[in-house]
Symmetry: C2
Subunit: 417 residues, 2 copies
């Protein structure tokens, strides 16, 4: 089947399914999620066999070891992925919530009600667990989903999507609710980005390159996720022990994720007390430091930072460090280089804390905590489809309510205008 035919057929099926999904009961959706979890366990041999083909192919193509590891599925991982579906089943159903309602002077009763978005396209890279997470979250929020994973995981994804779709359908979910694009032709992505007739939204999940391609080429509305050039500003009035723990955690605990810190800003007043020990701790942990000229005076291992370093999302054990003369300079630096993901100040000064949280424009703005907390689970949402770095529709960690829209239900008794 050519990719245009596949996209059109699956788009049409998804749209039909979405009409039925919109009024599907919470009970049926939850039963389906549990059945999907059970089906993954029951079919783990099939999944592992399919995954083995992807792994063999990846090794043949010389894929880097950490990427091969992210692609790999075993019993433990499949169990964890299935447990994720059970957790989604346990979450409250966002659909049908009356968000607000009021009576107009003419007697019209207006109710703002939460409804599914409709058909969601998810475009992602190698990790096959996204196939399950995205299918589960979209289903719980009443949406049909069209999944387009990376070609590296095509055997795993095809096996998983087929198992999930069959289990869901047997539990009463309409056919077409969960579909995977099976062609690995890259042109299918380009065509999917123009599928306005069938898709209500596209959510890309992956690296900066993928997200850029989607944002620049999609005519379907996009929720941009991901890129995080996050800062921590250690103010003159900081508790230096707390500052060191927060700054260390924000960089080192998991450097490859979007909420990890990329640039540390330090007030010049406390730089002499703070930076030497801080830099030594980083360097002991294997962090490469690229600093401004002042930073370089505090440790011999500091390399000079270039303009590009201030804007870089390293996603690695590399940190840019800059000494600034004031809170205003920190705010200006952040305004210039931040991707508006997560920003933190460490301070004991009430006014500085407030100003920072008021003036910094980012999805999450922290006082005295690590930027690493920007996460759907850490925020208490019980799920996460991604972290939005745009301002439209959703910002920050996206849970189930972010996968919904609204409609106005208006009840009258003959009103005309």
């Amino acid at each position: 089947m050519d990719y245009i035919t596949e996209l059109t057929e699956k788009g049409g099926k998804a749209k039909l399914a979405a009409r039925k999904l919109a009024t599907l009961s919470t009970a049926v959706k939850n039963q389906a999620l549990l059945a999907m979890a059970a089906a993954l366990a029951d079919n783990q041999a099939v999944i592992i066999a399919a995954n083995a083909k992807d792994i063999a192919q990846a090794r043949e193509n010389g894929m880097a070891k950490p990427l091969v590891d992210r692609l790999m599925l075993d019993e433990t991982r499949i169990k964890a992925i299935a447990d994720g579906l059970r957790q989604i089943a346990a979450l409250p159903d966002p659909v049908g919530e009356s968000i607000s309602g009021w009576l107009r002077p003419n007697g019209l009763k207006v109710t703002k009600m939460r409804v599914p978005l409709g058909v969601i396209g998810i475009i992602y890279e190698a990790r096959p667990n996204v196939t399950v997470d995205a299918a589960g979250l979209c289903l719980k929020a009443g949406n049909a989903v069209i999944l387009r994973g990376g070609s590296e995981a095509i055997h795993s994804n095809t096996a998983i999507a087929s198992i999930l779709a069959n289990a869901a359908q047997a539990a009463g979910v309409p056919a077409g609710a969960i579909q995977l694009i099976e062609t690995t032709d890259r042109l299918a992505v380009t065509a999917m980005l123009k599928l306005n007739q069938y898709l209500d939204v596209i959510i890309p999940r992956g690296g900066a390159g993928l997200i850029k391609t989607v944002v620049e080429n999609s005519t379907v509305p996009v929720i941009e996720t991901g890129t995080g050039v996050c800062h921590t500003f250690v103010d003159a009035a900081a508790d230096l022990t707390m500052a060191q723990d927060i700054a260390f955690n924000a960089k080192v605990s998991r450097p490859g994720v979007c909420n990890a810190m990329e640039t540390l800003l330090v007030h010049e007043k406390i730089a002499p007390q703070f930076l030497p020990a801080m830099l030594e701790r980083y360097i002991q942990a294997g962090v490469e430091i690229r600093g401004c000229t002042q930073t370089m005076t505090y440790h011999t291992a500091v390399k000079p930072a270039t303009e590009a370093d201030w804007a870089a999302e390293f996603l690695d054990l590399i940190l840019a460090v800059r000494v600034v003369g004031s809170l205003d300079m920190a705010l200006d630096h952040i305004a210039a280089y931040s991707t508006r993901h997560s920003e933190a100040i460490v301070t004991c000064d009430y006014d500085n804390a407030n100003r920072f949280q008021q003036e910094v424009d980012a999805a999450a703005v922290y006082v005295n905590a690590s930027t690493r907390f920007t996460d759907g689970f850490e925020f208490g949402f019980g799920a996460e489809i991604g972290i939005s770095t745009q301002k439209l529709h959703a910002r920050g960690p996206m849970g189930l309510p972010e996968l919904t829209s609204i409609k106005y239900i208006v009840n009258g008794n003959g009103q005309i205008r």
Copy 2:
């Protein structure tokens, strides 16, 4: 100045202004709105003189009379436009609202706070009143705005934007908060649609052609407004007098707007009692009827409807009429042809009313009322920047809260992960 230079300069100024606008007090914003209203009145001679140039040009170019009328400004209209700014000043400020907040088990306090979107681009057609409305609404919600009106109104818009920007600035609003693109080069629109570096969102206001161009070419997130192929379904269990009044109002009261009905669906059981008088009333009012074969049996003046008529937004005294065998057939017709703007059922049957409101996917779904009520003022929002027909971010009439985003304010005391 070439358009690239103009866009880049104004984009940069808007972005700087947006940082300051985000923390501007409600008092200053309201004073500025009142000062802008006063300035329009004080400078009405200047505005009318500029408008006269546009009118002369329009007549020279043979613009249709109703369009010339929409372009025309006089003392009465300027007063009404200025009053609109005073109404915006009287509305509550959406910025700074705590939407929700909670404490995490680790002691982190998370607050979801309403903040401005940032920089909004408005692309619109001939009506110069949009210049004032959009500037006022964006300012109140703390956003910088870049306006791009139609070339037909360039003299009026340039005069108005300059008066508004000066008045706002004198009242304490940062420079760059209100800017108009002054070049009439059409390439400026194309370039504006790619201005991701400066614009957070683009809202097109105008005809289907403009909206299509924006949706298909913008890499900046868009809020799609406008197109309404709205239906009214007269159920078998309808009060026929009420149904006639609602169906007449929905088509005839203002046929040129997006919430006007374009297709009337009638249950076949009541078609013999309902349609002859209804069709006669429409025809007396000058409405051209394009009907299905059954409809044609009820009045000799009915012309045959084509497939294209079911999908048409006539925006005129033309109505498509179809007799359907059941509520399900009505729901299928609406699912196939609706633009998901506003849909109505007239019925006394409780279950049919509920099913219609549950199953129809549209921004506003009515029982026993005219679709003409889909409007920010009629919904009680006190303002309207447009009516969204997409599902992302905003759906239906958009007031001030729809011109905002959120950020998470997170307060800790040393939490690390």
